[in-house]
Symmetry: C2
Subunit: 206 residues, 2 copies
Amino acid sequence: MADRLTVGVAARLSRYLQVLTQAKKMGKDRISSQEISDYTNINATQIRRDLSAFGKFGKRGVGYNIDSLLGEIRKILRTQGQHNIALVGAGRLGQAIASSSIFAEHGINIAAVFDTDESKVGSTVGNVQVSEYAQLPDIIRDKNIIVGVLAVPAPSAQAATSDLVRAGVKILFNYSEALLDVPSDVQVHTSNPAVELLYALYFHLT
Amino acid sequence: MADRLTVGVAARLSRYLQVLTQAKKMGKDRISSQEISDYTNINATQIRRDLSAFGKFGKRGVGYNIDSLLGEIRKILRTQGQHNIALVGAGRLGQAIASSSIFAEHGINIAAVFDTDESKVGSTVGNVQVSEYAQLPDIIRDKNIIVGVLAVPAPSAQAATSDLVRAGVKILFNYSEALLDVPSDVQVHTSNPAVELLYALYFHLT
DNA sequence: TAGATTGTTAATCGATTAACAATC
DNA sequence: TAGATTGTTAATCGATTAACAATC
């Protein structure tokens, strides 16, 4: 017990979490490894193997109970609490992110939104009022935020990154195409649909 | 030669493509495997290994010429042409996607945008006029589009998916949290920042 | 030349898969 | 009971890494 998960296992477990959350919303009570496989393209044997490393969560001939499996995976990933994150950029993308339920569903709370555009300060995106960009360091520190989401144009991305990192942020989600320079203890996750597409096209074309 | 790339290699090569494209925009001429590693968190030896499987693209003591490496990787991934894609949903997220240069930079062209909201039809997002949703099958077929991007709310996602698939789309990018049912010859790529975040937090907390 | 960085080897480790007995 | 699906084994394959000679 208590060994650190490998990167691969942790990544897969969080995908199972997503599938289970959605399946539950669709009114399902239980699910088989084959069904999870259909939605994730992860081999069904791999799924059973990942889960059985932590306990016997399923029933043979029946499948997995969704509620109890959700609880078990959350325990393994230690994601049971609420997490506060900060969003930089209240433009179209920032508004789309703030209004989405994609974070809220997993207990992730957008606790602060910043924009350098004064005309946006005070307006509401999602359920949060946009704060002055100058207040970023204080608010990030006060609320103990370690996750930042960058929804700013590429030319502003590095400046926002440096400000967030200086204030204590350790995990960044970059929705611009810019490359970000960060200290080695900060993780950057860049979401680039174009990159995924190039790679998807390769397999479609060959 | 001419063997199909493994999934892992193709995914990594497209990430190198992204880094090279950005580094070039920043005015750089050449880059080392270590620099690519810093931006991608892919081990530098792995990068050299991936590249040297296709030829000797680098210069010892110097690194890789960005322009020529870009050309080589594009040749390997066969992504030199223009690709037409369709976007469904002209809301905030759809507008953000259509205005971003993230696709255009890699030769991917948003050739059509659809929305079921009649009041949006005819308006311009990015550089494209929003078309009637009813025209989706005809336009997709006429323009030979095989890639669809879903920027619609979760409850509409399955219906839009079915319409796109019926019209011939084979690759889908899903920006909603919904699970999509598709035939086995259609690939779904779901982008879920919350899932990535849960997994990033695990490694931060342990 | 001296320093830097590639290309490549060799060794290890984790991921993937098929197969099937156990059992609900 | 009959059918379905888990839990687990065993075998294979690809990814990862350190190390270093080659060479720019």
